[in-house]
Amino acid sequence: AAVKKTPGVTAKQITIGATEPVTGIASAGYNQVAKAANAVFKYVNARGGIYGRKIKYVIKDDCYGTPGFGCTGVPNTATQTHSLLGLPVFATVASLGTPTQDTVRALLKGDGVPQLFVASGSLDWNNPHQYPGLFGWQPSYNEESKIFAKYIKATFPTANVCFLGQGDDFGTDGLAGLIAGGVTPSDEQLYSVGALVTSSGASIAPYIQRFDTDKCTIVVLDSIPGATDAALGAALQLGYSPQWVISSVGSDPQTVDAPFVGKVPTDPEQGAISFSYLPTTTTSSPWIPWIYKVIKADPADFPGFTSSSVLNGDIAYGAAIGVAFVEALKATGKNLTRAGFLHTLQTTVFSQTPSLVPLSYTNSNHQGLNGGYLTTVISDAAQKPITGTVYTTDSSTTGPVTVAKKLSAGIPAWIK
């Protein structure tokens, strides 16, 4: 039958792409996300692919557009996205960053290319009316903060809460979520990423100093790992030890506190409260050994990774997105078109992926995961769930935080 050709799809191959900070200041940690997703694709390819098609994942460096010399000659996100379009690609998957992906929304929409599982918790990805092909993946900053708020209210009812967030929607959405959840910080500050880059972490210190003077007992951080480090360092320096509540984006125990190793006896992040929508390495989730297996099978991208290596948050994150994508492909069936794929995505509940709650979209909701559990950092390599109760909510101001009813199931048989 004469089927209209789907761009990026042949009988043998599906080409997809992503833009990522492979080099430059933002690359540390984040450059592992797409690699880990690719490890999953290679694993699946080695088992015959999906309906005979192997996944070819093309990762382009957009340097996150961060200032610094590490990025000389690297074109910006739009240029790199264009070069992906020229391949062509079936979709972009797990491209990273809020501002970067914002700039290519219209471009991808114009060409009808799905922009899947953007690696960012912004609310920008949930706009199916205007961008029908655009899908987020992780819980929004807003949702996460609402779950924090519920916990803070219940556990520390008299605490003096202060807030430090990044000066874009990461910080502002996070703050809004906190307030929507009933916790109004007594002091709220936003830092600028630009200043972080030009004047190193020291620019965070004044905020922490201020919280110390104001006697804040809880400090909520909506920060990237570098800024988390700076905040923890500044507090250490001042001899100030509030209860930290750190968003999942900036709390990965292994990424955080690289500067402290060998300088202080105990990891300053220990005891901090965070949030996870993926099973932590301390739990008995079957996904953890599975991800180890997949990553070990990819020595090209993860040289030296063994069973005793630390599975950091970025790797787990990438692997989880990889699984989500192959699951969705599998569910779409042999006849792969963009329309068919998007339809499947919006009508299926994917419960066999590593995330704690099933991944489900509808034609009016493209946000992605909507729940997880609270964790506490127990060492410089691990965090563990506080109670293990998985909460769920939505991004609205009124939507309540409830205990999740449906949890993800185990590993699908076909990739076991």
Binding site: P7, V22, T23, N31, A34, K35, N38, I59, D61, Y64, G65, T66, P67, G68, F69, G70, C71, T72, G73, V74, P75, N76, T77, A78, T79, H82, S83, L85, G86, L87, P88, T98, P99, T100, D102, T103, V104, R105, A106, L107, G110, D111, G112, G167, D168, D169, S192, V193, G194, A195, T198, A300, D301
Partner: protein, 400 residues
């Protein structure tokens, strides 16, 4: 020039133009729009006819420059029709970059002032474009481009005035500080500039419909969204090249070389140093702003980190490798910008390096930086200078 020569040339050209038009429509159905190809081929023939008129260069240099620029434009346009669309897009960004490079070639090459701030001048154009379009979506796109250029020129004036008193390293220091501070300045005006997320062009801020449809092929959706951008960028770059060639060959251009060579003697022939230096700054920043504004148009959006200091370094590298102080150097630099990433990933493929590996991902920097060093050490006038050198050598050898 003999009148018969002109007349004969004219007749031959008309004949060729008719043939070219027919050819254009013959190949049109398999590729793109016939009208566009026909125009391109016809102009090419006309330009070649003009350029081959004997003695044109010395008697009518302006006409020669115009014909050469136009020929360059139509040749690239023609090539663009047949390029895969992604390369097409690279061509558009490269064309815009070459405009920026022209400005720097003039400033640093001709007038001898070092600038590390051209990324910021570009940013001024890019953001003016986006901000204006967001507030006045109905302004025709070419007017918005012009407004951006004017904004760039004004900022150039503002920064150029203190800069005229500075020498070498101090000038480098001031322009560097401006480039580094630029993203922070954008941050201070985040209600205008969209903060860290930047701005999108509103959908109304597109070119007139007829222009898009002229280059519409219907072949793939990608082409509709980019081919016209490529065409616009190339045409604008052609115009920019023409004017810059004028400037280089003119009294003003000579004045710039004079102040670079010997400022005391230049003053004594009546050149006002501050004025000349400011003019160079203004021209350079206006050109940079034009390039930046085109980038906004091409990307359909603008985000602050694009215009960080790293871009200034890229700009400087490109013009040095291309050939500073030359016009062709800007062209070469633009082409390098357009295709260097492709070349580097090709190298990665050929060498069998793991493309996600540490080394492969840093190859860009290693190659770029290495080229920069080697160029300066062994061919300080860049590729353009080296080519010219070998050309002269070859000619001298063959003539005697």
């Amino acid at each position: 020039m003999k009148i018969e020569v002109v007349r004969r040339r004219f007749a031959v050209s008309v004949a060729l133009i008719i043939i070219a038009t027919v050819v254009a429509f013959l190949i049109a159905p398999t590729t793109h729009n016939g009208v566009a190809i026909a125009i391109v081929l016809d102009v090419a023939v006309a330009c070649v006819a003009t350029l081959t008129l004997p003695g044109l260069r010395s008697s009518h240099p302006v006409v020669a420059r115009a014909a050469l620029s136009m020929l360059g434009v139509v040749v690239v346009l023609f090539v663009a029709f047949f390029l895969p669309s992604a390369s097409d897009f690279n061509l558009a960004t490269g064309a815009a970059m070459s405009i920026v490079l022209l400005g720097l070639s003039f400033l640093t090459g001709a007038s001898g002032q070092i600038s590390l701030g051209n990324s910021a001048f570009m940013g001024v154009g890019a953001f003016t474009m986006a901000i204006w379009a967001n507030h006045h979506a109905t302004t025709p796109i070419f007017i918005t481009l012009l407004i951006s250029v004017v904004a760039g020129a004004l900022v150039g004036l503002l920064l150029g005035m203190p800069a005229t008193r500075l020498r070498g390293p101090y000038l480098a220091g001031m322009t560097l500080a401006f480039a580094v501070a630029f993203t922070a300045i954008l941050g201070e005006f985040s209600s205008w500039t969209g903060g860290d997320s930047g701005l999108q062009l509103p959908s109304e801020a597109r070119p007139p419909h007829w222009l898009v449809s002229l280059f519409h092929s219907g072949a793939s959706p990608l082409t509709t969204s980019t081919l016209w951008l490529t065409e616009i960028s190339i045409v604008v770059a052609g115009v920019a090249f023409f004017f810059m060639a004028n400037l280089f060959a003119s009294r003003t251009g000579r004045a710039m070389r004079l102040i670079r060579d010997n400022d005391v003697a230049a003053e004594l022939v009546g050149i006002s140093l501050p004025r000349a230096r400011v003019i160079a700054f203004v021209v350079s920043s206006a050109y940079a702003a034009l390039g930046g504004a085109l980038w906004t148009l091409i990307d359909n959006s603008v985000s602050p980190p694009t215009y960080s200091f790293a871009l200034s370094v890229t700009i400087l590298s490109l013009i040095v490798i291309g050939g500073i102080g030359t016009i062709s150097g800007a062209l070469i630099g633009g082409i390098i910008y357009a295709y260097s990433t492709n070349v580097i990933s090709w190298i990665v493929n050929q060498t069998g390096l793991n493309p996600q590996g540490n080394f492969a991902s840093q190859l860009n920097g290693i190659i770029f930086g290495g080229l920069l060093i080697l160029t300066m050490l062994f061919a300080p006038l860049g590729i353009a200078g080296a080519v010219r050198h070998f050309w002269h050598r070859a000619r001298n050898r063959s003539s005697g």
